[in-house]
Amino acid sequence: MKLSRRSFLKLTGTAAAAATLTSLSLQGDKKAEASYQPIRLHYAREVPTICTFCGVGCGILCYVRDGVVVNTEGDPDHPINEGTLCSKGSSIINISYIYDEKGKPKLNPNRLTKPLYRAPGSDRWEEKDWDWMLDTIVQRIKDTRDRSFEEKDANGVTVNRTQAIAWLGSAFCTNEENYLFHKMARAMGVINIDHCARL
């Protein structure tokens, strides 16, 4: 059996297509390619995205059917990676979906899907709704900020800051997210700001 790398990735990574593909005879790469290409076009929409891992910025194509990503692969049109991906990039779909023993996809069971709250001294999480969580967080921020806010320092200089809140942003987040993080943190008067760029 001889498979091109691209078709091999498709075969191993495409669980939704697996049922169809397992019936294929993979005797020769021509046959596999010929059998595969129409299926791909038939079943899914291509959405380009950028790999979430290192700073190379490889392009990834997501294949979406009925609003669900059913496969991902390197974007052959992307000038940097030209369709190739490393082991992490090739596995990116695992963040959302893993496969059971029969090769059927299921939601990654460790994905957080609900807001969780841990009370002081507790040994467990409790599920809460978003409104309760955000309202409570805002109350905590306000309480801490109000008690710790310094309008002027010892020299009488206007400083408008709180030293009691720390803010960690992320290189995993987009530019637009980080920009709003910065705005919110500075509006609150936070000066303890850092993130993984320093680590």
Partner: protein
């Protein structure tokens, strides 16, 4: 990066130092290989280990962790002594000809530059830099010697300073054989010939030291001497480890800056906007525009509330005190009870911070902690850490479910500064929300609770411009509205600015981050979404995404040609001028103002610097010396062979000195040098990749690499459980340690340092106590010391002891 990934294909010699391209930026390796296949390029890997990159290199140069400046200083000395520098480039484009004040000196006993003072507040040294400055005439013009013979010109000062970095001395310090050193020096300095391109790739193996910034400086000095800056195939190229670490840095998720690298205001220096502008705006160079960028940012922050009459709400920006507020310091304040709340977005410092065990302990001082992530991480669940009793921890924790990359729209900047759009492919599962939606809602709610006027100074919050709701549904954030604010617009009519050249300091423009101006300057076809691939050219791909600044792919690119405009390498020509000096063709965006004449540009190629010339000698910008000097890591098994009365960097940031192994007794107890690193199959703290079954199958558990000789000495076999100890793991007077599987390897070899044999061991740090695959936290071992300029922790060289479990 000054250049970009694809540009690697234009290099003649590539040096990968303090990075492991094949392992940690795997796909970029194709461009290294393309240069080798198509140009016959050579690859040098400088690394203590035979890494995946070293395994395929033309030359592997093994050096002891923490001796990069010794190695690079040796290269600088080799270039200078053998006159291998690119003379025309050095003379015209760098400050080699500049004269430095007569008072400048360096004490080779103590390793201190002139101007050293005690910094009592932190038990370290600091510098008065007045003696490091340029000599000037009465009119303020800098004095120069074009012949570069004056004893106080930069080139001669460097010759003197680096004379000590001989092959013999560098070999004794680094442990690398002289022949290998010389071979690598000869090969890399061959790029000093005009028309040859040398490229230096680095990563955290350069930065994560108490002298990390000076490591980078040493690379920059080499590249300036060899004429490798601003040319295709050249550059100082930081290979960044996260998909948007360039962007998160540009957006200033760092205490000391505002978006676009504007310094955060400090109470002692910048009480008012006028003070800020006066102190922070140089008299020449591109940064003369800084007031425009700051005022435009303030307009983006506080909208119509920001007026000239109120200094555009400058007072609303919090002012820094004189303390460090970076990671290590922040956690120190947390340990001291000063910080009571933390908001943590997709970060996991309980695994990635230095002395992480202590840090998790300090988190118990928090009253509340918010964590936003896609998986349950160790930071949010620190109360579940092994050996912890949750009942003892009173911290309230809020864990919010986020979306992964292909579940949300937005941009990310890669290492080459390419700002690329990532399209959303599917809705997130369950009740997950994007970080953008969460921060949008959270701040709206904060505005609501402050709206009544109660609470401490509500104005900066309630008056902040925060109008990002979708037109059809105000409860949902519209990412494009954020993009438009980042790009910038005219405040009178909301029309988008083309780029930052239009920004003003009078309130007529608003722009969240001047560097991003131009990335989304129209709604129909914004540059960050552009997907036009180059079919011919030098690899710039100007039609693919948007690179800051102004879509420029190689910064300082005027240096790609000589002062007369002739390209150093005609095969990689970037610009064509006609006989009148008018630019007629370009394969990259010019790095100079369009209004400047041809002659002016040639005389001022480094436009970000007030003097316009590349700094071989740094008169400003670094706190620990104008020239990189070798200092040992904070924890080192050997004395400083260059400067006998110095050991570690005297200006470095030291915390918890009682946790540092610095005495002879300590060195006997922790005899091995530990270096930490990453593997392809996992990502940073591992909380994402340890929840990905395919990757866990490939790289299932934590290991420690041990050389064969040390393994035999300690009776450790492959697969044995090893206990690793450091001075950070003392609990109740007892030494404790962490466990990892032994990986006995030929990739590491004992090194002979000044006649003594030393062993180096290495560990990745991707494991923790949550997720599908679990393991000990390597960073429980690492020390809380940091670089003099950045306070980045010293993860790459510290001392440890190892033993077989049960031995």
């Amino acid at each position: 990066m000054t250049n970009h990934w694809i540009d690697y294909k234009n290099s003649d010699v590539i040096m990968n130092i303090g990075g492991n391209t094949a392992e940690n930026h795997p796909i970029s390796m194709k461009w290294v290989e393309r240069a080798r296949a198509e140009r016959g390029a050579k690859l040098i890997t400088v690394d203590p280990r035979i890494t995946r990159t070293a395994a395929v290199a033309d030359l592997h140069v093994p050096i002891r962790p923490g001796t990069n400046i010794a190695y690079l200083g040796g290269l600088i000395n080799y270039i200078l002594q053998n006159e291998l520098y690119q003379k025309e480039y050095v003379q015209h484009y760098t400050n080699a000809t500049y004269l430095i004040n007569e008072g400048f000196s360096f004490d080779e006993e103590t390793g201190l530059f002139s101007g050293a003072q005690d910094d009592a507040a932190r038990n370290a040294k600091k510098y008065d830099t007045s003696s490091w400055q340029y000599q000037r005439d009465v009119e303020g013009n800098i004095l120069k010697d074009p012949t570069m013979q004056h004893p106080n010109c930069v080139l001669q000062l460097m010759k003197k300073f680096y004379a000590k970095y001989s092959l013999d001395k560098v070999s004794k310090v680094t442990g690398c054989p002289q022949e290998t050193l010389e071979e690598s020096y000869k090969l890399f300095s061959s790029t000093g010939q005009p028309g040859k391109a040398g490229n230096i790739l680095y990563a955290m193996g350069i930065t994560q030291f108490t002298h990390g910034a000076q490591n980078v400086r040493a690379i920059a000095v080499v590249q300036l001497l060899l004429g490798n800056m601003g040319i295709p195939g050249g550059g100082v190229n930081a290979q960044r480890g996260q998909s948007n670490v360039q962007g998160s840095t540009d957006m200033a998720i760092l205490y000391h800056i505002l978006p676009g690298y504007l310094g955060a205001p400090r109470a002692a220096l910048h009480p008012t906007l006028a003070d800020y502008n006066e102190r922070e705006t140089p008299a020449s160079g591109w940064w003369v525009n800084k007031p425009k960028y700051l005022v435009s940012m303030l307009k983006a922050f506080w909208g119509n509330n920001a007026t000239r009459a109120n200094d555009f709400c400058y007072d609303y920006l919090p002012k820094l005190d004189q303390r460090d507020h970076s990671h290590i310091a922040m956690y120190k304040y947390m340990g001291e009870g000063e910080i009571e709340g933390m908001i943590c977005w997709a970060d996991n410092p309980a695994v990635t911070g230095p002395s992480a065990g202590h840090k998790r302990h300090y988190q118990a001082n928090l009253k509340w902690l918010v964590s936003v992530d896609i998986f349950e991480n160790e930071t949010a669940s620190f109360w579940k850490a092994p050996g912890t009793n949750p009942a003892d921890i009173q911290t309230e924790v809020f864990l919010l479910p986020a979306t992964c990359s292909f579940e949300r729209d937005g941009t990310k900047a890669n290492s080459g500064r390419w700002i690329q759009w990532q399209w959303k492919a599917q809705d997130p599962p369950g009740e997950c929300k994007s970080d953008l939606q969460v921060v949008y809602e959270l701040f709206k709610k904060l505005q609501e609770v402050y709206a009544g006027g109660s609470g401490a100074f509500p104005d900066p919050i309630v008056k902040m411009k925060w109008d990002y709701g979708k037109d059809e549904d105000e409860s949902q954030v519209d990412v494009v509205k954020v993009c438009l604010e980042l790009n910038g617009y005219n405040t009178a009519d909301q029309s988008l600015v083309t780029n930052f050249v239009s920004l003003q300091d009078d309130g007529s423009t608003a722009c969240g981050n001047w560097l991003y101006s131009g990335y989304y300057n129209n709604l129909e076809n914004p540059a960050c979404k552009s997907r036009i691939r180059e079919t011919e050219g030098i690899g710039s791909n100007l039609g693919w995404s948007f690179a800051w600044p102004l879509n420029r792919r190689i910064v300082y690119n005027r240096c790609s040609a000589d002062p007369a405009g002739k390209p150093w390498n005609p095969e990689l020509q970037v610009f064509w001028w006609d006989e009148e000096g008018k630019l007629v063709k370009n394969l990259d965006i010019p790095d100079w103002p369009g209004s400047w004449s041809f002659e002016e540009v040639a005389q001022f190629p480094f436009i970000m610097l007030p003097e316009g010339h590349g700094r071989l000698f740094a008169v400003a910008g670094v706190s620990d010396g104008p020239l990189p000097a070798h200092y040992e890591p904070a924890e080192s098994p050997v004395p400083n062979l260059f400067y006998p009365r110095a050991t570690f960097n005297p200006v470095s940031q030291r915390f918890y000195e009682e946790h540092l192994a610095e005495t002879d007794e300590d060195r006997a107890r922790y005899p091995y040098i530990m270096s930490t690193y990453r593997v392809t199959e996992h990502y940073q703290s591992g909380i994402v990749t340890r929840n990905m079954p395919w990757l866990n199958e490939l790289m299932p558990e934590l290991f420690i690499e041990i050389d064969e000789e040390l393994a035999a000495e300690l009776n450790i076999y492959n697969g044995d459980t090893v206990i690793i100890e450091s001075k950070r793991l003392f609990k109740n007077g007892e030494q404790s340690g962490i466990e990892a599987k032994a990986c006995i390897t030929k990739r590491l070899k004992p090194m002979v340092i000044n006649g003594q044999k030393k062993h180096i061991v290495g560990m990745p740090f991707h494991w923790g106590f949550m997720g599908m695959a679990k393991g000990a936290i390597t960073n429980d071992l690492s020390p809380s010391v940091g670089d003099a300029n950045t306070t980045i922790p010293e993860y790459k060289a510290f001392l440890c002891n190892i033993k077989r479990k049960g031995a």
